[in-house]
Symmetry: C2
């Protein structure tokens, strides 16, 4: 079944938690420990996800004592394509797309070589059109 990884699932929960906190408490930096307690997720996993998000500049990280993480954009400026790319890597619906050197070992027989791109573009744009704030609608 086509499905997102749990990492992406966690990422959305974590981002939603951060967005709520920043909106409610005007706190700039939040540590991984606090987020883990708030979301009830295991801390090492939370830490891993936060690291991935920081690497893509979706969130900001500050080292040292009193450090932590903070959102880099408003929730409605964060789209799902970006989040998924951070946690799962590039969005490509088949192995043929990202390997420019050769389609596959049967390239000479592959009658649809390179024809996956329209499908990929359709999917990516569908994901880009969903923002974090839309995912948070209906939150208590």
């Amino acid at each position: 079944m086509i499905k997102l990884s749990k990492m992406t699932d966690y990422a959305v929960v974590i981002l939603a938690d951060m967005a709520e906190r920043q909106n409610a408490e005007k706190i700039e930096q939040t540590s991984a420990t606090v987020i883990a307690q708030s979301t009830k997720l295991p801390e090492p996993t939370v830490s891993k996800v936060l690291k991935l998000l920081a690497r893509q500049n979706i969130i900001n990280s500050t080292r040292g004592a009193a450090g932590g993480y903070s959102l880099n954009k408003a929730p409605d400026q964060i789209n799902m394509a970006h989040v998924i790319t951070a946690t799962d890597g590039p969005i490509a619906l088949t192995a043929c797309v990202d390997e420019s050197t050769e389609c596959c070992d049967r390239a000479q027989n592959c009658s649809i070589k390179g024809q996956w791109n329209p499908l990929n573009r359709a999917m990516i744009s569908a994901l880009e059109n969903v923002s974090l704030s839309e995912m948070m609608r209906g939150t208590r």
Copy 2:
């Protein structure tokens, strides 16, 4: 990385092969053996994929001697959402979606419960808008 399974990849290649053959030779039934030779794919795998496609009524199967498979619809009536469902199972972007009983073991803490559905609908409709004949454009 989000990606389709090889089964889906094979399915499209096989369907394209069948479509070309039916269009060129006016042959109704084609055996798994012939398709395997034509696509250069291993026969057991081809057989497996054909079975999956037949189960979803994308293609027709006829048993017995002189039996085989044939397309059930015109290539432009076969969309990718249907094919992917046949080979990979239901399209759902998170484990939360298909389990109606409970979201996950942290449901009480999950602030975005049920909010994946808009994303799923966007993806499915993107996949429905790509037909097999569109995938075959540019074929030699």
